[in-house]
Amino acid sequence: MPRLDDIVDQVIRTDVLVIGSEGTGARAAIAAADDGAQVLVATKGFVGKCGATLTADADIDVDSATILKLFALPGAHPEDSPQKFFEDMVREGDYIGNQRLVEIHCDEAGPRVKELVDWGAKVDKLTHAPGHRYPRGIWIEGPEIAKALTKQILARPAISLLETTMVTDLLLRGGRCVGAIGLDYRNGKVVAFEAGAVIICAGGAMRMYRYTTAPDELTGDGMAAAYRAGAELQDMEFPMMLPYVMIKPDAVNSIDYPYLLSAYLDAKAMNRMGQEYMLKWDKERLAWTTRDVNSIAAMVEVLEGRGGPNDGTYISLKHIPRNIMENAKSFLPESMARWRYGAFDMKKFLPDLTQDAIECAPACHFWNGGVRVTEHCETNIPGLYAAGEGTGGFHGGNRVSGNALTMTQVWGPRAGHAAAAFARRDGRGEADPAQAAALRAKIVAPMERASGSNPIQLRNRIRYLSHRYLNAVREQRWLEQVLQDMKELQEQAGVVHVRNRALKKYNMEWVEALQAENLLTMMEMVTRGSLMRTESRGAMFRRDFPDTDGVNWLKNIVMRRDGDSLTLRTEPAVITTLQPPRTAYKYSEQEGAR
């Protein structure tokens, strides 16, 4: 067998390999480097210019009493505590979050966010989001976080970067993770990494959906690679939807401006006949109910044939008198009062709201499930660690606002410390050349096939099916239909090919070809998990099982690979101090007020 260096174009050897460079990955790399490890960060885009952290909208949760102590922000409430934060997080997650992990999360949030602020991330204000009993959202814009963390990475000589690199698979030897392999698509090189320990911080799989607030990279690569390596995943049936994003025009597709309007003004949600369908769901709060109920209600209209021309439903503000709309500027957030969203002037894209409604759809916003980890971010594979979005057990069935960023800051460092210790103890791993050769062949296969399926069409089909049938509402017959349709898609993914095979340098279609398998793995997990969970909970509503079943379903669904098939089992939810309701009750009755 040839040496690894002869199999791939480049071999990089390091103590700790971190996959992903933003909120979680940067923190993991910093922690590992500060413990004395050599660290290599491989990231799919450019550092500070990719990933979900940057796009965050952007509250970071810490309990209010700790905020008062560490940040002295106006509005922080001394009666709050890490314990109360813990209770809210477990309750809003519909009681299937791992309480041992949630305790750590709430205890360590303050000190870790303090470090971020000390590194220069600018705090704007404190916000009070739904689901929290106290104001807990320390507002720091995503680009501020990215800037502060990038600076810390660059200040540490022990951290090296490999950008524009999609890690496709993990390398294993003797049951231990010893590295990874991937494509540096900027020059078309296959790169192998030999490491003492590997940390996956590659985020969620929101790009599986037609409408999503997430950036392009988020195609579930880390979770899918972990799965293929034999890692366990959990809670994969709970992708989180944000109701009411823009559909048209295309420039602002998936922007959640209508949702933000609906949070501040009395928006009416309507179907294509102009019926206010929220009356069927929550007579009192209507569109002011929780995000999940809004998403569910909207998708039921679409699936029952009452959606608009773009498969959406409508948000209308037409009934609000002009002077009330004018006065709204006095209490809307400043950017919204100026009709701004990021760098967009929304006036150019919205219809005349005194006359017309906005057609909207639910968009995938966050990935609640992922790789199953311990409190030290260990997976079931020695040497393999995971942290941040794309790990499971923290948010249970649903995440409260502001907790995605807290997750990056708390769990990135924990993973970094644990991986550095493992690498120090066990030394650098050595890859199995035969495995590396097989995985290299898989990477270059789409460039070697003279014909085959088109990766762009394939992902569009995946996104269409996911939007309709794996949205907030699910039903057995639709889920079974997805599994049926997936067989053909899996065949296509097996023969996916890149049209210009001579183009090695920055060939975007090559990257898409490698993502196809990952998207399908995610799709299968969501579908199979949803079929198994015969109840409605958190971000998932089963139309054919509309109750939350506290008798039979205080459980997590755990997934892993067995040969070539996905196997599922259940594990009881980890409960430490907060006892869940152990009865069956109507879905959404336990929801907190928005």
Partner: protein, 112 residues
């Protein structure tokens, strides 16, 4: 989808292989409310998958999708495309990887 198409001239350049940039022209059915990023995405998905650009966030936050639209540097994601002929060039030739992609990497080569 409207049938009217507009000619979009796209600068193509791989500094490692080409002596000089050249333009490829594509007929694009530019719709009202399309951004320049929508135009590039249409070309990539429907006409020519070899066109290279970068701009993952799509909402003006990564600030990495600069394109010269008829000579003026703009963010591709937030700049509206007028339904008319246009010429697209990279922001700069310095550090150009290919077409519109500028090398924004912080550290070029990792240590062995």
């Amino acid at each position: 989808m409207a049938d009217t198409t507009y000619t979009v001239r796209v600068a193509r350049f791989d500094p490692e292989r080409d002596a000089a940039p050249h333009y490829d022209s594509y007929p694009v059915p530019i719709q009202e409310g399309w951004s320049i990023l929508n135009v590039l995405t249409y070309i990539y998905e429907e006409l020519d998958p070899t066109v290279a650009f970068y701009g993952p966030c799509r909402i003006g936050k990564c600030v990495a999708c600069h394109v010269k639209v008829n000579g003026k540097t703009r963010l591709a994601c937030t700049e509206l495309a007028s339904p008319q002929e246009m010429t697209l060039d990279p922001m700069t030739q310095r550090g150009l990887i290919r077409d519109f992609v500028i090398d924004r990497s912080r550290v070029h080569e990792p240590e062995e």
